[in-house]
């Protein structure tokens, strides 16, 4: 449902069905709503069998990368080693606030999914890493874990099945980068949250050096539904011509939009209908100018592109962007795109962990140049400089935070170039032959330097 708005008839509430119902937060309330049936069923199965069902369901990671969950789980074999499951509840990607709602309204849905996932990958211990600022989700999930332990739902002899599944909540301390999977593991281990060089991948050497699987909150919360209803049931949600993207997905909608909130729709939904009908368009008599459809790290779509885009992994790529985390950020026709892109880059500059030069320097300089352009002190040469920095920041670093900062710059310069040009300083000192050797070699005229 579009909490805080009533559910729209075109939504398909599976994960969000009980948002806004305080009783759903308790163990009893959750059991009354069919909770923990899937976990009990799972604990009586062979983990490999669960991996197969999840693989067959077509569920893909909801944390941003869209990796097939069952395939990820199948990397984990019964090798006698200590395995770990990490649940990524660091949700900090601007525009994304779906995991927060799952945790604060249906904390047991997450505990069940986490326990199920841990068992399916032969792990006796799972950690839910929740960002430090999420005080209410922390409180709710901690209470749910406590209740589940007290009732014997998790722990040793979980649900009387003789299986052991421990679930612990770990509180982050403020760092967007800890959402990156290996940074999260470092952080959990009591280190600075620097992403690790891969390989080795977490399935080989992850948390505490042991084989580890990491999944997003929404991914794990979906698995009990799949176990209860079967892979075929899950696959029905999606467009018939694209079996690669199935299931329901929570989209968080924010920015200049009439009805912000979370909406759950089947993948393959039409983005135009979603934005204008379900979410009510820009609101306040305004027009939508641009939309970031999948969290701040994915390219912009223009309003025109939004009308025909299809909301699934392949559909958003075809439209020129990505599904990402499902965080939809709407910009209306009042917004100054240069300022907004500068603000986005400031976010990445603040959040860079600073271990790669391209990212540490690139995020900072990109922000400075953009802020200078936004202030009316830009020169045409800046565009080439920005694109060259963006190129150096893409595909060359330990994690993709660096790429994420380059994305709005490149896509903004492509789609809203006229706004950048309109801001350039009309200076007689600066002769601009953008892109030519002369311009590149010309010394910067006296003027503001970045």
């Amino acid at each position: 449902m579009g909490y805080p708005h009533p559910s729209h008839p075109r939504e398909t509430p599976v994960l969000s069905k009980h948002f806004g119902e305080p009783e759903a937060r308790t163990l009893k309330g959750w059991r009354d709503r069919g909770g923990y049936v899937a976990l009990e069923k799972a604990l009586k199965m062979d983990p490999a069998e669960i991996q197969t069902i999840v693989k067959d369901s077509g569920l893909r990671g909801r944390g941003g990368a869209g990796f097939p969950t069952g395939v990820k789980w199948s990397f984990m074999k019964p090798d006698g080693k200590q395995h770990y499951l990490c649940c990524n509840a660091d949700e900090s990607e601007p525009g994304t606030f779906k995991d927060r709602e799952i945790m604060r309204w249906t904390p047991h849905a997450l505990v069940e999914g986490v326990a199920l996932g841990a068992y399916a990958i032969y792990a006796s211990v799972a950690y839910i890493y929740i960002r430090g600022e999420f005080t209410e989700p922390l409180e709710q999930v901690r209470a749910a874990v406590k209740e589940a332990y007290a009732a014997g739902v998790i722990g040793e002899n979980a649900l009387g099945t003789g299986k052991t599944v421990h679930v612990h909540v770990h509180q982050g301390a403020g760092a967007y980068i800890c959402g990156e999977e290996t940074a999260l593991m470092n952080s959990l281990e009591g280190r600075r949250g620097n992403p690790r060089i891969k390989p080795p991948f977490p399935a080989v050497a992850g948390l505490f050096g042991q084989p580890t699987t990491i999944n997003n909150v929404e991914t794990l919360a979906a698995t009990p539904h799949i176990l209860n209803n079967g892979a075929e049931w899950y696959k029905q949600f999606g467009r018939p011509d694209n079996p690669k993207s199935v299931g329901t997905k929570l989209f968080s909608v924010c920015g200049n939009v009439a009805r912000p909130g979370n909406y759950e729709v089947p993948l393959g939904f039409n983005f135009g209908e979603f934005l204008w009908d379900l979410c009510g368009g820009a609101g306040e008599g305004r027009e939508i100018k641009a939309v970031i459809p999948g969290g701040s790290s994915v390219p912009f779509l223009t309003a025109e592109e939004c009308r025909t885009a299809v909301m699934d992994y392949e559909g958003f790529v075809a439209a020129g962007s990505m599904l990402g985390s499902g965080g939809v950020i709407v910009f209306d026709d009042r917004q100054d795109m240069v300022r907004q892109i500068a603000r986005l880059c400031r976010f990445y500059a603040h959040e860079s962990c600073a271990q790669c030069s391209q990212c540490r320097e690139g995020t900072a300089w990109t922000t400075k140049i953009l802020e200078r352009i936004a202030a009316g002190d830009g020169v045409a040469q800046d565009f080439d400089t920005l694109l060259s920095i963006a190129d150096n920041m893409t595909g060359k670093t330990i994690c993709v935070l660096s790429d994420s900062c380059a994305t709005p710059v490149v896509s903004g310069l492509k789609k809203f170039r006229h706004e950048f040009e309109a801001k350039l300083k009309a200076s007689p000192n600066v002769v601009s032959f953008a892109g030519t050797a002369t311009a590149a070699a010309a010394p910067r005229a006296a003027g503001p330097t970045v």
């Binding site: 601007p94 525009g95 606030f97 403020g174 009591g190 968080s252 924010c254 976010f347």
Partner: protein, 187 residues
């Protein structure tokens, strides 16, 4: 270290007026003394991890809850408790934005100004807090020691612009108009 909008500044006023929270005068009183509740809490937490180092973030959270901030002495104490060095602990503390390395006001106010909130007018909310708390400037504690206001990056509640955190309390959909009433309601 440079002070950005999200870094509280060590203000002499705050040091002098921090009341219940301050522990930078006189001998350092340990947080995790044997037989105390924080010690028991830490010991229980450590059972959840295969080594002591993993208890570092949780231990620092306990320190901050008990003392209001994480002093150098506290870092040394935590290091001792977890078989780490004080320099290592400091390296970790400085990575994360939520551990205060200086005392802050009684009410620590964090306003999200990242893009989705920015387009909904978050700057106006920041200005209203700076004005009505008397802080005037980001990261500076008000003369009476009551308030510190900072800007933060995305709080993960973008659909409820503008979200504001006052200590542990998470407020949604704050507008500049609501600010005086919010401040008046604080004990």
């Amino acid at each position: 270290m440079t002070y950005g909008p999200s870094t509280p500044k060590p203000s002499p006023d705050a040091l002098a007026s921090h009341g219940a929270h301050h522990d930078d005068h006189g001998p350092y009183a340990p947080v995790f003394a044997a037989g105390t509740a924080p010690r028991a809490e830490l010991d229980e937490l450590l059972t959840r991890y295969p080594n002591k180092m993993a208890g570092l973030l949780p231990a620092l959270w306990i320190v901050q809850r008990e003392r209001g901030w994480v002093s150098d002495e506290a870092m040394a104490e935590v290091a001792d408790a977890l078989d780490l060095t004080a320099a290592y602990v400091k390296g970790v503390v400085t990575f994360y934005t939520m551990y205060h390395q200086h005392p802050v006001g009684k009410y620590f106010i964090q306003v999200c100004t990242t893009t989705p909130c920015h387009v909904c007018g978050a700057e106006g909310v920041v200005d209203a807090f700076l004005q009505h708390t008397g802080c005037g400037e980001l990261g500076v504690t008000s003369a009476d020691g009551r308030y510190t206001v900072i800007e933060v990056e995305c709080l993960g509640a973008c659909g409820f612009a503008t979200p504001v955190m006052i200590n542990e309390q998470f407020l949604e959909s704050v507008t500049p108009q609501r600010v005086p009433e919010i401040l008046a309601a604080l004990p």
